[in-house]
Amino acid sequence: MLAKRIIPCLDVKDGRVVKGVQFVGLRDAGDPVEAARRYDEAGADEITFLDITASHEKRGTLLDMVRAAADQIFVPLTVGGGVGSERDIEALLDAGADKIAINTAAVREPELVERAAARWGAQAIVVAIDARRVGTDEPVSTMGAPPGEPGSAPKPPRWTVVTHGGRRETGLDVVEWAKRITGLGAGEILLTSMDRDGTKAGYDLALTRAVADAVSVPVIASGGVGTLEHLYEGLVVGGADAALCASIFHDGTYSVAEAKAYLAGRGVPVRLGEPRRGGS
């Protein structure tokens, strides 16, 4: 049985971690390569870099960083942020990334995902979807209103795809978009709730569940993790295959090992750390 994955995510800008990583003994809290190496050794199942560098001229900095990280970590590395063309994808894969996350460009040009999956395989192409709830407010109870009252039944929640860090509405329905883009070849969906991102209030579980049930590829839940219970909920209630986390690890609130021990204790299949130089 596949283990559920725990994926620390490092937001980087101009080759530096946007929000410092608080590890004991870390020489440079802003060095993404050192942070990635430490997460690798700490038992992270994958590492993700999301580049938020505004300027395209600084792309070389990102590639150098990916190259250095790929040389030092021995788990899969996903890189996203500003990926707009096959040339961008090729450069990142050549630098040593295993998977490329495409966000805005996939909305602008879904055929890019199709061509990239055909060329490099679906396993290398992650489509990142930023989702925002529309219409209804989030229900207090997921059970909804009592049945049998036509006209008063709450409408099921809906989400729309947003791009440019949430600044732009696309009008696309998230579940329909996820189905369409996996049909074109996306190998995984990185699903971020823009309502929950940064709140530490937990994943949008209805969103996670709706997408996980709609597509046949793994779904990585993102946005809102503040506690270990939230990880459990995202993976079990939300049905995600993997949990992307940033601040709960970067702040030093929990270690990857603590998160996995907690999940294992609640019966979630996870990869527990194995000694690097184990055996002889």
Binding site: R5, W120, D241, A242, E274, R277, G279
Partner: protein, 214 residues
């Protein structure tokens, strides 16, 4: 100093495999030279051969159709230690459902078949991506003995797997829905794994280190 040739089939980035072998050797304090090559003479001159692979079986079969494939078969016959990774495992078999008509190295009898997504409550996602725990089918030998008695989680990314005619070559499997996936095979000097040791952190480095050391 052992010369490990990482065989380049022209199918993508081999850097992570090279780096992981180098690191695994360093971890064990071993001197090794890791050389990337697609030349038959380098394969025949190697102390050890690693055949990584990702991508499509048809491209792999095309790369192996000529002298390079013949050199690999010859090296296997001579007893050169061979480690196949992912497509480097599948290439050891005769055929693949992924590419009807394309021929593998046929070192082992059997075919490569598509994973079954299952149905109903047993439905699983294909490709099989992620960490899965090995189920050892028999006492491992050679590099596969690296983990001692602890069967580790290792990292997989694939949609097809080999189904050997001779089940005794299967050392480890993993379960993915209705599939009992061939995860590791071994016979004599040939060891091959469907998973990616270069992406399997400590467990993968232990395997690569044991292969270089053996």
């Amino acid at each position: 100093m052992a010369c490990v040739v990482v065989v380049d089939l022209g199918m993508g980035n081999l850097r992570s495999v090279e780096r992981a072998i180098t690191r695994a050797a360093e971890d064990r304090g071993l001197a090794s030279e890791v050389v990337r090559s697609g030349r038959p003479e380098d394969v025949l001159g190697a102390d050890k051969i690693v055949v990584p692979g990702q991508g499509a079986f048809r491209d792999c079969a095309a790369a192996l159709a000529g002298e390079l494939g013949e050199a690999l078969r010859e090296a296997v016959r001579r007893g050169t230690p061979y480690l196949g990774i992912c497509l480097g495992l599948q290439a050891l078999f005769e055929t693949s459902e992924e590419a009807p008509g394309a021929a593998g190295l046929a070192v082992f009898r059997g075919a490569v078949r598509r994973l079954d997504p299952g149905a109903g409550a047993d439905v699983v996602k294909i490709p099989h991506i992620g960490w899965n725990r090995l189920d050892m089918k028999r006492a491992p030998e050679g590099a596969l003995a690296a983990w001692g008695s602890e069967a580790p989680h290792v990292y997989f990314v694939h949609s097809y797997h080999a189904v050997p005619e001779d089940p005794s070559i299967v050392v480890a499997t993993v379960t993915h829905g209705p599939n009992v996936v061939t995860a590791a095979v071994a016979r004599d000097n040939v060891t091959a794994v469907q998973f990616h040791p270069e992406k399997s952190q400590g467990a993968g480095l232990a395997l690569l280190g044991a292969f270089v050391a053996a």
